[in-house]
């Protein structure tokens, strides 16, 4: 992805207020949902644990949210480490478990791709692709460089402008942050639309389906 650096919206007056502890300001969540304003009932995929704040947020809109905790699957050794790309893709398809006819509007991927290697990420992308539509958007945390440290965190949605950030209660898993260029190449079902560099080196990224 070619990144062009630009000033963040406006001058000093535009600097948002300091968020409360456990929250992280987000400039992209609003875009994620605003772009779907005319989509009717939304179908959302969350690949993390079901968090109260996300459910509460979604409870205010007309939607169907699929909670598929793929982090737990990885933690439990649910993916065949020696499996071929096709085998892994089939495993992901089974894990996603969507009913025929499901079409996703929003995919909340958080930092999940960084817990997969190239083969797994391509397989995940292949498994997700059939459920996407041209207008499907995704949210993911990229990293500025492979040296960026990803902490053992899980994320939710507090409101249109804030994510919740929690320390996982489970031990950290093996993680190899993928720089944006690799992520774009391996997560083939999406392309990057916009990224916001965060102070900790993560890049909050808005994705659009490549369907």
């Amino acid at each position: 992805m070619n990144l062009a650096v630009s000033d963040q919206a406006g001058g000093p007056a535009a600097v948002p207020a300091k968020p409360e502890p456990g929250r992280q300001a987000s400039q992209l969540l609003s875009a994620l949902f605003r772009r779907q304003e005319n989509a009717g009932k939304l179908t959302i995929l969350d690949v993390g644990r079901a968090l109260p704040e996300t459910v509460t947020f979604c409870s205010a809109i007309s939607c169907r949210i699929h909670v598929v905790d793929l982090f737990e699957v990885l933690r439990g050794g649910g993916l065949d480490p020696e499996g071929s790309g096709k085998t892994l893709q089939r495993q992901f398809q089974e894990l996603l478990g969507f009913a025929s006819g499901t079409r996703l509007d929003i995919c909340l991927l958080w930092d999940f791709p960084h817990y997969l290697d190239e083969k797994q990420l391509r397989a995940f992308s292949g498994a997700l692709f059939p459920w996407l539509q041209p207008h499907t958007l995704g949210h993911v945390f990229g990293v500025h460089s492979g040296a960026t440290q990803l902490l053992n965190r899980e994320y939710g949605i507090v409101d249109e402008r804030h994510l919740s950030v929690r320390t996982r209660t489970t031990p950290p898993m093996k993680c190899k942050p993928h720089p944006q260029s690799f992520m774009g190449e391996w997560l083939t079902c999406f392309r990057n639309v916009r990224g916001v560099l965060l102070p900790d080196g993560k890049i909050e990224t808005l994705l659009q389906a490549t369907v």
Partner: protein, 181 residues
């Protein structure tokens, strides 16, 4: 099989479901659902089959089959284990449920709740610590458009509670905006 007693104390939505007394289940207790009679399946009871009726129901035992109490309330207590589809007006879960859940009004999963299945309800509340796997189909009704939700979540809106502070969470706004070329 079922014990009935009058509920006489209003309940908070987020409060854990009532706990039926195993030793004296027929005695009126404040643990019954908010309004009307409540049948109680005690912790030592196992039910296999379809349950339907016109009372509220508290499940502290094991149920396999289906539970349909159209305009009433079902509470699955901490010791309750339900392997069934559940349909009711209001459903509170503090125990285990494996099955699809459909509520006309709302579903509340408390911190000890463990649900695996698909939920359909206008509103769903999940307490911190609750375990949920499946899908949630929500439609709050008149306000059921993304536009209104986005508007509601703007600054004046009260955010969902975030109980745990994370010390190293970014407390600064992002300082750069990057756009793909």
């Amino acid at each position: 099989m079922f014990d009935k007693h009058k509920g006489n104390k209003p309940q908070n939505d987020s409060a854990p479901p009532p706990v039926a007394s195993h030793s004296a289940p027929a005695t009126p207790t404040p643990s019954a659902p908010a309004a009307g009679k409540a049948a109680v399946i005690g912790p030592g009871i196992i039910v296999k089959g379809d349950i339907s009726g016109t009372d509220n129901l508290v499940i502290e035992g094991k149920v396999t089959g289906s539970v349909k109490l159209a305009s009433h309330e079902v509470s699955v207590g901490p010791s309750g284990e339900v392997n069934a589809d559940v349909a009711a007006r209001l459903i509170r879960i503090a125990g285990k449920v494996h099955g699809d859940i459909e509520a006309d009004e709302r579903v509340v999963i408390s911190k000890t709740g463990n649900v695996r299945g698909n939920i359909t309800a206008p509103r769903v509340m999940l307490e911190d610590g609750a375990i949920f796997k499946g899908s949630i189909d929500m439609d709050p009704g008149d306000a059921a458009v993304v536009k209104s939700a986005v508007a509601q979540s703007r600054p004046a809106a009260k955010p969902a509670p975030v109980p745990e502070a994370v010390s190293d969470t970014s407390d600064k706004a992002p300082d750069l905006s990057l756009k793909s070329g």
